[in-house]
Symmetry: C2
Subunit: 442 residues, 2 copies
Amino acid sequence: MFFSKSFIPILKNNPSEAKIKSHQLMLRVGMIKQSSAGIYSWLPLGFKVMKKIEQIVREEQDRVGVQEILMPTIQSSEIWKESGRYEDYGEEMLRIKDRQNREMLYGPTNEELVTEIFRSSFKSYKSLPQLLYHIQWKFRDELRPRFGIMRCREFYMKDAYSFDLTDDDAIFSYNKFFLSYLKTFKRLNLSAIPMAADTGPIGGNLSHEFIILADTGESKIYTDKRIFDVDSSKTILDKESLGVLRKQYEKFYSVTDEKFNKDEFEKSVAEEYRVNTKGIEVGHIFYFGDKYSKPMNAAVDFNGKKEFVKMGSYGIGVSRLVGAIIEAKYNDTDGIMKWPMSVTPYDCAIIPMINKNDKSNLEKSIKVHEFLKSKNIETIIDDTDENISAKIKKFNLIGIPYQLIIGSKSEGNLYEFKEVDGETQKLKVEDICSQIIKAKQN
Amino acid sequence: MFFSKSFIPILKNNPSEAKIKSHQLMLRVGMIKQSSAGIYSWLPLGFKVMKKIEQIVREEQDRVGVQEILMPTIQSSEIWKESGRYEDYGEEMLRIKDRQNREMLYGPTNEELVTEIFRSSFKSYKSLPQLLYHIQWKFRDELRPRFGIMRCREFYMKDAYSFDLTDDDAIFSYNKFFLSYLKTFKRLNLSAIPMAADTGPIGGNLSHEFIILADTGESKIYTDKRIFDVDSSKTILDKESLGVLRKQYEKFYSVTDEKFNKDEFEKSVAEEYRVNTKGIEVGHIFYFGDKYSKPMNAAVDFNGKKEFVKMGSYGIGVSRLVGAIIEAKYNDTDGIMKWPMSVTPYDCAIIPMINKNDKSNLEKSIKVHEFLKSKNIETIIDDTDENISAKIKKFNLIGIPYQLIIGSKSEGNLYEFKEVDGETQKLKVEDICSQIIKAKQN
């Protein structure tokens, strides 16, 4: 891909309306474009990152045996009246009247709809457990949308729902998601910690938020720094193993401000281990038993007895994660962003110095691009006529993890090569290739 | 995947509300579930097919150099007022007031929004051409939604848009999509023919619909049967080669009823070649020059002169294609559906005969499943306790192209194996494997 032909509209300066660094960067390098208050279009650079995040989320859902479905964005108000939440949701719910004057709404969440799907599909306990997820656009009519895609109105989420016969089975399902979330965030190169959390309008009495540390986070968090060392790599999809993992986390005090209690914090965590900082919520899981299945009559037959199914729900903000990764990885003092290899829009930027009368560096770039492509390495060639330092500065912001510079300092078959935040090395293209492949495998 | 644990709610009979065979089949085998009038949820079986179609559409867009973006579902009315279409669209547009009383709408199409994105991103002709696409949910508030996902309200579409400096360049872009559409439908195992069509509310004076023949189609079509023999396999992405392809198609009379003229038809097509039948629209491409760029002031600088960009738009109904493929491939007299290998939810159904006291066939099934999985062949095992003929009947409807039956007639290492609409063979698992792999490659 040539930079001059790609749809990457770069701004010269940080847009004044953006207050946090992810919002600034995403507008600056043309990842998104606002179309109206709290509603954004995703341009190719932003879209590529979001799609890669989506795919990792999907793979980790599939791995724990969750089946993918897709519910629509527009729902009927009727099921929300059944659960009793139609009024509760207030003005954040985007309410719509269709041409027949029916009351519809743009789904802010899907507990009601998925319960309706379950109850009309299965009647026997033999079909349990059922774990379902979907990845779909949702809408919350925020009074003051802000921080770009971090607190916007139309956003992209993975929602999952579990249906079980007993509380015990349901906790097993809950714990599968607990593990799956840890694995998902790890693949995104984020240290997310699970924290006991309030359940809010979803309901229930068991809930964890997954939080990554970031100064710009909206949640205050209180925890024990040893929680970062809990190792889930050996946990398997087995009731006992998952139970052990949950217990390992619960040994450490770890809450958001809604659940914070100063005395308890100070009693449970020795001063040297206390962490009191801010974080960004990237996932949230809930267990709420029969809160929806009972009013909506979602039950199965169990040896002649009617049992309301026990449900949980499990969310990951896919579009929000794009911003959260920037908050965690962007050094805005030095103007350097570095995408994790697993979600970067391109693996390597090829940056040739181009003179009007000498296209030889551009030709070299194309050859290097072809070679790397043959090894499944995605590159973008900056074929514009900007000077080399402007190009490098631009790619420092775009955040592609590797830069290959073809300029006056290229000697023979050695190229200047660097990690975006690292030192320049002089390497042969084969060595560049193996370095990138190694990084992709981690 | 075990059938008993998968979310595939089968109905015993055809649902009475469904009038056409795709609608009947999709409800019957649990591919979709209606959530309100003209709005559907996609259950795992339907979702898998739609995702595979989406991926083929995406790959064929990428192949002709179109860049993927994603525009939101909810748009501001302001840009529609600029183009003058806010009133034109009438009641099919789902109009929404948000909590601040702003006039919003659920996008029925995206010419305005993409024009706004272009005009605020690029100012120089050097950035042209730009070809952009997105795959997103759209909404048309049909007065009478019907035929399941064939004429519903919330539907999934690929829309692409081209931006060029001159009419000549724009026709080159148009022709790239023309070729890309032929290749897309071919990979879906559909014979789609391009037909001169009216432009309707999109506007412009050049337009083709891509139509597949089906008795249940809503479009009447008039064409020359020799049009099916036009060969695009040697056409390359070059102005001249694409022009030649267009001319080959234009040699044959081929229109929908809106453009039909009896005298012309009879004059141009000898009686033996006349085709007068019904079809389903699966794609539609438009060239409309500066219809949107002029009122919305989307222009580039070309050597000091302001030029309004020349635009086209290009749609494929991704969700509709699921139904269109069923209309084309489902033999409802015999109760046999057969998905093309490129989009089938599973490659092969493993159907064991299971007795209460003898699970040996189930164990064999799992072994065969593991072997086929190691060769990248996706299977589903019917582990239910239905009798074997009920199982086969069910899988005839589900439409997985191959069935491997493990029953009383299995001898030694030979299995009963058949295409869903073919004769039973007795084969070793290795031979079954190579037969499926061969079919996947076609």
